[in-house]
């Protein structure tokens, strides 16, 4: 899966949690723009982990604030 494919798949997974229909760009932030609370974050992280068969620990999550950073992290975690 190349970056574009991974990015597209992650965007699809964001969709059900994107209640306000915010446009997703590399700089879209989960806490600031999408206004996700901790429970939403947990459900979304679980969806990403299951889709890509990876673990994103809380320690790693702390470094991921935007969609672009998440795409990069997922690609890196897939090895």
């Amino acid at each position: 899966m190349d970056r574009a494919e991974t990015a597209a798949r992650i965007a699809e997974l964001i969709d059900p949690f994107n209640k306000k229909g915010i446009e997703i760009t590399d700089n879209t932030s989960f806490a600031g723009d999408l206004e996700w609370d901790s429970l939403t974050v947990m459900d979304f992280v679980a969806a990403i982990e299951d889709e890509f068969d990876i673990i994103i620990s809380m320690n790693q999550q702390a470094e991921i604030e935007t969609y672009g950073q998440l795409v990069d992290a997922v690609i890196k975690l897939q090895g």
Binding site: D37, M42, A46, E49, D53, I54, I55, S57, M58, N59
Partner: protein, 399 residues
């Protein structure tokens, strides 16, 4: 100069808005006099206590009190020292012996609070490169233990065995794994399917820590907790518990059969770098723990109280945290914080104290009125409590 307190402004405003409605401050209650494990005087009025963790009613046990007084006379008011320096007295050893007998385990280590027991054990045993897999509804002391250590922290959905298993299987080969679970989750009073979860954890090569703070003394044939009740205590590597609930005083502990367990006394910072418990506290704890070993009759009565209150509240139309009583905690779910605070105050005016619990302590942003029963609540008191809930619930418009 930027004010470091600015970050608290939203909470200050929310709190002020609640108090502006004229409701009594739910977090400002003072017990002026304590009459028994189940009754205290608050604002000059006798109040039934239904929000303590005094599950087995040991706070006023005559033997427990006598042991504390004797220790004050014989050993003084405090130790003024760390357990590893001048803070280990005969009483500290005695309470660790009592714990080993109570749990039938090889090792016991006593901390100054239950919070420090979780903080110390978790942060010390799971280090850099190790993984902690824990339930998302874990107590703050567990989360803080994770934050203090250097391990990778991986939460899973509450009591979800499959979610836990998936995460365990994705952990890189060779990494150390610690699964952290609780017997009773204190907000909703629900229990964990420990037998199945621990089986899965062991199959995946993890060590298991179970916090049995809210089950000790009450759940299980010998009061050892939910793991004992489900027949899987032998597979638990570390049990964390507290003296501030069923034992009736203050302090925390970890018991274990791990052959190298004793080394923790030298490397666990929340054990080393704090003063040990006062002699009177460990004396009351040891006496209480030994009495709890023979608490069958009290355990049976507490279950009876829990079942009666659960059924009474459910029949009145209250929404409860569990479909059936699973512990000594019965959580009544409130529609929102305002009505929750109103109901809390109406109950206090009836002469009943319960815990008002709100986010972030509660799961899913819920406001709860948490009722915790005591083995010393009489059957009549439980009926009185149900009547108080009926009047208050109707007055506030919740039922």
């Amino acid at each position: 100069m930027s004010d470091l307190f600015s970050k608290f402004d939203p909470l200050i405003q929310q709190r002020q808005a609640l108090l502006d409605t004229g409701v009594t401050d739910p977090f400002g209650l003072v017990m002026e006099r304590v009459i028994s494990p189940t009754v205290a005087v608050c604002s000059g009025r006798e109040t039934i206590l239904l929000g303590t963790y005094n599950y087995m009613g040991m706070t006023f046990d005559p033997d427990v009190i006598a042991a504390g007084k004797q220790a004050l006379d014989d050993f003084g008011a405090g130790t003024t020292g760390s357990r590893v320096l001048n803070g280990t007295y005969a009483g500290h050893r005695a309470v660790e012996e009592a714990l080993k007998d109570f749990y039938a385990m090889d090792h016991a280590m006593v901390f100054s609070t239950g919070y420090q027991a979780n903080l110390g054990i978790i942060s010390t045993i799971a280090g850099k490169g190790d993984y902690i897999v824990l339930d998302i509804d874990s107590h703050a002391s567990i989360w803080d233990g994770c934050k203090m250590g250097d391990a990778e922290v991986v939460p899973f959905k509450h009591n979800d065995i499959e979610a836990m298993e998936k995460r365990l299987k994705r952990i890189p080969e060779g990494a150390g794994k610690l699964v952290v679970l609780e017997g009773v989750y204190s907000m909703l009073g629900d229990i964990a399917p420990l037998k199945e979860m621990i089986r899965v954890a062991k199959e995946n090569g993890a060590m298991v820590l179970v916090d049995e703070a809210h089950s000790m003394g009450f759940i299980g044939p010998n009061g050892r907790g939910v793991a004992e009740d489900q027949g899987c205590l032998d597979d638990v590597d570390f049990v964390i518990g507290t003296f501030s609930k069923s034992v009736g005083t203050v302090g925390g502990f970890c018991v274990s059969n791990h052959p190298k367990f004793e080394i923790l006394r030298l490397v666990c910072r929340p054990y080393v770098f704090t003063a040990s418990l006062p002699p009177s506290v460990v004396a009351t704890a040891a006496t209480s723990i030994r009495k709890l070993m023979h608490g069958e009759a009290k355990r049976a009565h507490l279950w009876e109280n829990s079942r009666t209150l659960h059924k009474g509240l459910r029949d009145l139309g209250f929404k409860l945290g569990t479909p059936e009583p699973q512990s000594a905690i019965i959580a009544v779910i409130m529609p929102d914080l305002e009505r929750g605070a109103g109901m809390w105050e109406a109950l206090l005016n009836e002469g009943l104290y319960v815990n008002l619990a709100r986010p972030p302590a509660t799961p899913a942003g819920m406001t709860l009125l948490r009722c915790s029963l005591c083995a010393e609540h009489s059957a009549e008191q439980v009926q009185t409590i149900i009547g108080m809930f009926e009047r208050a619930g109707k007055a506030v418009g919740i039922i």
